[in-house]
Each structure stands twice: as structure tokens, then as C-alpha cells.
Symmetry: C2
Subunit: 353 residues, 2 copies
Amino acid sequence: MSEVEIASGATRINKPARSAKPSPTIYDIGKVAGVNPSTVSRALSKPGRVSVKTRKLVEDAAAQLGYQVNPFARALPTGRTSTLGLIVADITNPIYLDIVRGTESTALGQDYTLMLADSAETTQTELTAARRMMPFVDGLILVSPCMDDTRIHELAGEKPLVVINREVNDVTCVVPEVNKGIGEAIRSLVVNGHRKIGYVAGPPQSWMSKRHWDGVQAACDWSKLESVRLESDRPTVDGGRRVAREVVSSGATAVLTYNDILAIGLMQELQAASVVVPDEISIVGFDDMFGADFTTPPLTTVRSPMLTCGKEAARLVLNLLNGEVHSTPILHVDTELVLRGSSGRLSSGRLLT
Amino acid sequence: MSEVEIASGATRINKPARSAKPSPTIYDIGKVAGVNPSTVSRALSKPGRVSVKTRKLVEDAAAQLGYQVNPFARALPTGRTSTLGLIVADITNPIYLDIVRGTESTALGQDYTLMLADSAETTQTELTAARRMMPFVDGLILVSPCMDDTRIHELAGEKPLVVINREVNDVTCVVPEVNKGIGEAIRSLVVNGHRKIGYVAGPPQSWMSKRHWDGVQAACDWSKLESVRLESDRPTVDGGRRVAREVVSSGATAVLTYNDILAIGLMQELQAASVVVPDEISIVGFDDMFGADFTTPPLTTVRSPMLTCGKEAARLVLNLLNGEVHSTPILHVDTELVLRGSSGRLSSGRLLT
DNA sequence: TTGTAGGCGTTATCAG
DNA sequence: CTGATAACGCCTACAA
């Protein structure tokens, strides 16, 4: 019978880089198990729709041959790849580490593979990354995306999509509820004698920065404190250093900053100018990123549970994939104040220019 | 003609989660451009083997339809996915950030997508991650792998593979040449009056830790210094703290540590015990990871150019993919001392228990 | 230069 | 419960 030739016949286009031996297919299994390839497929993908003994036959043959499904061949008819895409603004930023880890862990738990990309904080590269991933993945997770809502909707229309760290209408989002953490921070500052609170903002277009500032204002109003907003040019260590002078002259005795990196730069510059932290100025960051406790004093910060965000986001995409629709597509996760050394009691009168 | 129905006829198995509109195929392009699908394929993948005007016709139609290749359909006949796999020991460790960034940048530059996984520092998960990725990628990069050489050879036999941070026989590797940086560090310590140097080792099975220790010994011998090896139980901040007592009692006035995290923990504990760094003990880390300069004093460290490692590794896999064979499969990249505040002159006599 | 035809490995439909 | 057969979208000899 020429049937024997089915799987191995013809010239093989696919040239594995080194090993000459092509991987076994369901046809090969079919041959050794003595059943039709389609039965092999069934036995392997939906056991239960096949007799017990056929199943065993197939499984044994598969094991013996060291069979592994070809994900591409499978993806073609099903359209499913068992892969999730994750795009973060900047892989270099440790803040995102826990998100990656979180999504990875639940993805793997559900037998999904993760595909990761970095947008280099640019709308353009973010978009290309998304476009490039789109055909590969079953669903996509965007972390702190900078593309506009329209683009996000566009993507969300094509595949299940979840956004972390930003709220977009009609799109499933996971966002830290910063007000709780901010409230805790402000209360802690109040009892330590502070009366004027500064907020060093992040990038102008940052959704989260706006959120912070709203929260700070609200909390200050409630506690009858004065609040003042400072601008940083970039959310980096240097950006933090450059805003130091302004912070001092603002008259605020305590400042919250858009993120921990900014806080660290600010603290470094203040200390270089012999301003004692926290005695003269208290500093509170955001995120509790890796390294926030390396400083002296260690940084007080509002922690966002990024690991949880990552896990939840992955869970939500997977739900979306299974056809679930989220009536309230916004998932809030709690933030909390991590009290360390960079904030505390305001010592006596502080009189600087 | 029923030809119009070619692409849209029949029931569509592939059900996109939401949008009803299926992505356009080369058949669709063929219809609007008025040419055969195969011509479309050629025009798109190998322009030049097609007339200029057909090409333009096809490109316009493709653009108009917003066509994107289906990577799976392409992978099936060609066996190529334009995807590179990267497995790092621990995504949570900032040391690997630059590697990710490096590989990502050259991968993207060559129109390759990156697939990232974390091995959680476990041989088992590392292996499953590799296995899981293998069918998806054209090539694989392993960073500080913990699996044994046999496994690595196995994988290298299946697809192009490059290892970072470890040397494996007959496998293309990119490793930092630590001796240069260590030499600089030891010389700097010598001129600052140090006579006994400690090395706080990392995990016993770590290839790099052994390498460090060899280098430290050699450099100390050469400079006629005494060297002593200390063991840490874990390469973490806490591990660093726990080894502090031993460091002090060892009599070394300067120590190098397996990595920066260990150095930071060690420094924190010493400072907590009122040991002044660097006046009483100098500390030198390895890697120059993110945050190494957040400490007070900022950490002196031997920097490995991880970004370069990542880029080179990606370049090498790509070469391998193109059939190049590396006669000397080990690529060494230079390390250098980054002199900061945690190391320096030994002040007068130090007499601690 | 372009069209035709067959195959890549898997799943789904439809008879048997 | 199982076998044949037709997609899935793309690529590439081969023929025109």
C-alpha cells in the first residue's frame, strides 16, 4: 500500500536547522496504532469521544513516538494558539516585573505561553508591538499603554484585551485604587505635623499621574491641608533631582511623587543639598518598586499589588476568551502605604528659602 | 464565476472572539488586485521575482485591505516562525532586564518577535519552559541556565541555541570576561591599603560564582594578597545580611560578593551593626544592577555589559539560523569596575571581633 | 512573469 | 465510535 508513504513522502520543505529527523505526526501515530489519523486527533484532544481501548492504543503509540502537537498546524483550523501577549511600557522599569511574573504564573497555570514585548514608552513602538503580536496571541494585556483610547478599542475589537493601570471605557481594566493608599499616606503625614503637601507629577499624558493628583487633592481637602502640584520633566532619577529645588521653594514639608524612581532622585538631591530626610522634608513614593528599600533612609511608598494585577489581568483575558462578558469591566485592587524611613515627624520649624 | 466565493465561502471554523470580520487573506488581495493568490504571495515575500506593476498592484490592495500575514499559515510550510525564545532564570531579578532589552532590540531589528519565559530558578520549570517554547521559536537563548550540559546539548541539537552567562562545550555562548573587572577591583583595593580580600560566593552550583572565585584568587595571588571565601546561603538581600557576621570575623577588610543584591544586604547589616562602609570594610558587588547606586554609599561593582550580551546572543542565534557555524563558539565580553562609594581607603587600624 | 496544483499537520463535518 | 474528506492560509515546484 502506498499509504505507508503518506507522512514521509514528498520532499520536506521544512528543514530543521540540524537534526534530520522530522517530528512524528498524527499520521505516524495512526500507522503504529492502526487507526485513522482523525481518530488520533480525537483521542488526543478530546478523550471521551473515543473508545477506551482506542484511546489507550493511541496514547501508547504517541508516547512511544515522542509525539508533540504542532501548535501551528493546530492554530490554523482552530485559530487558537494558547499564547497570551503582554506589552509593558518599559521592561527596564522594575515596576513591571511583578506584573510580568503575575501574568506568567496564571498563564502557565492554564497552559498558556506568554509573549512579551516592550513599547519603549513610545506610542509608535507600542502600536507596532501590538500589531506584531496580535496574530500570534489569543489575548492581549496592555500595561500602562500610551496609545489613545481609539486604538485600544480597535485592538479590543479584534481579540480579548485587558488593560492594566488605566481605565478605558468598555474595556476590561485592572487598576490600583490609589485613594486608599494616598489616604493612609496623608493621614500619616498629618499626624506628623505636616500642613502643606506637594505632589510631583509624572508625564502630562499619564493617566495614573492625574489619578494620583486627584487623590492627593481630595485627601488634603478632607484633612484641611494645603496641596501643591510640582511638575517633573521626566519620571527618572535625574528628573527627581531636577525638581528638588522647586520642591524646596514650594514650601511643602512633605511630597508624594509620581513614582519611586522620582522619589529616589529627589531624595538624593535634597541630601546632597544637606536637607535632612525626613526631618525637614518627608518623601513618599509610589509603587514600592524593587530597590525602594535600598536607600537611606528607606523609602516610604504607596504600594500597588502588581503581582495581583498581573494575575487578575491574565485571569480576565482567559475569561474573555471563554466568552464571558464583564458587566463591570473595571477591577480595582487595593493599594496600601508602606511606611519606611523617608517620611516622618517634621522637626521643629523649618526655614529654608 | 464562483471564484468570487473562494475566500469567503464555506463556514468559517475560526471564530474570532468578538469581531465578525475575518482577516483578509492573500486570496482576498488576489481578488481586488486581479491576480492569482500565488502571485500575491510572491509579490509580498520576494518582491523582485514579480513585475513592478503587479507588485504595486498587490501592495496597494494589501494596504487597502489592511492585510497581515498569518504567521501560522506561514510557519506550516516553511517551519519558520520569526520568533526567538528567551529564558531567564528569574524575571524578578533586575540583572536580566538589560539582557531582555538587548535581545529584544536586535530581534525586533531583524523582524523577529521575542517570546519570554522565566525558569523561577528551578531546573524543572526551566526545562518545561524550554520544551514549551521549542515548537514556537526559531531559536532559543538561555540565560544562566541551571539545567545540566546534557539537556543543553539536547536542545541545541533541535534548534539554534545560545547560552548567556555560562560556558558549555560545543554550544555558542556569550559570557562576561570577569577577570578584567576583578583585576581592576583588586588593584583598586590594594592601593587603598587592603591586604585581605573576601569573596562571598553564590549558589554552589553556579558556574559564574566559581568563575568569580577563581578570578579573585588569581588576582590576589598576583598581588600577594590573602583571599578568603565565605558562603552565602541564598543570593538575596537577606542572604547578604546573614553572612555579615562571618565577613567581620573573617578578618577581610574588603569583600567582593557574588552579586549586587548580596552586597546590598551585607552593607545594610554591617551598617546596622555600626560598621562604617567603606572606612572599615569595603564592599564590591557584581553586575551593576538597577538600584546599585540607590544605596548610601552607592555600591562599587563590577559591571557586566548585559545589554551587549543580549544583543550579541540574539545576533548569534540569528547567524546560526542562517546556517553559520561558529568555530569558536565562546564570545567573551569585557567587564569593568564601576567605582562608587562603597569601596575605598581603609581607615587606620580596624579592630573588631 | 504568472498561474496551477499539491502539501504542511491539525481539526471539524459528515457519513457509515 | 470511527473513517474519509475538506478546510485553515500560505508557500513553492512546475508548467504555461
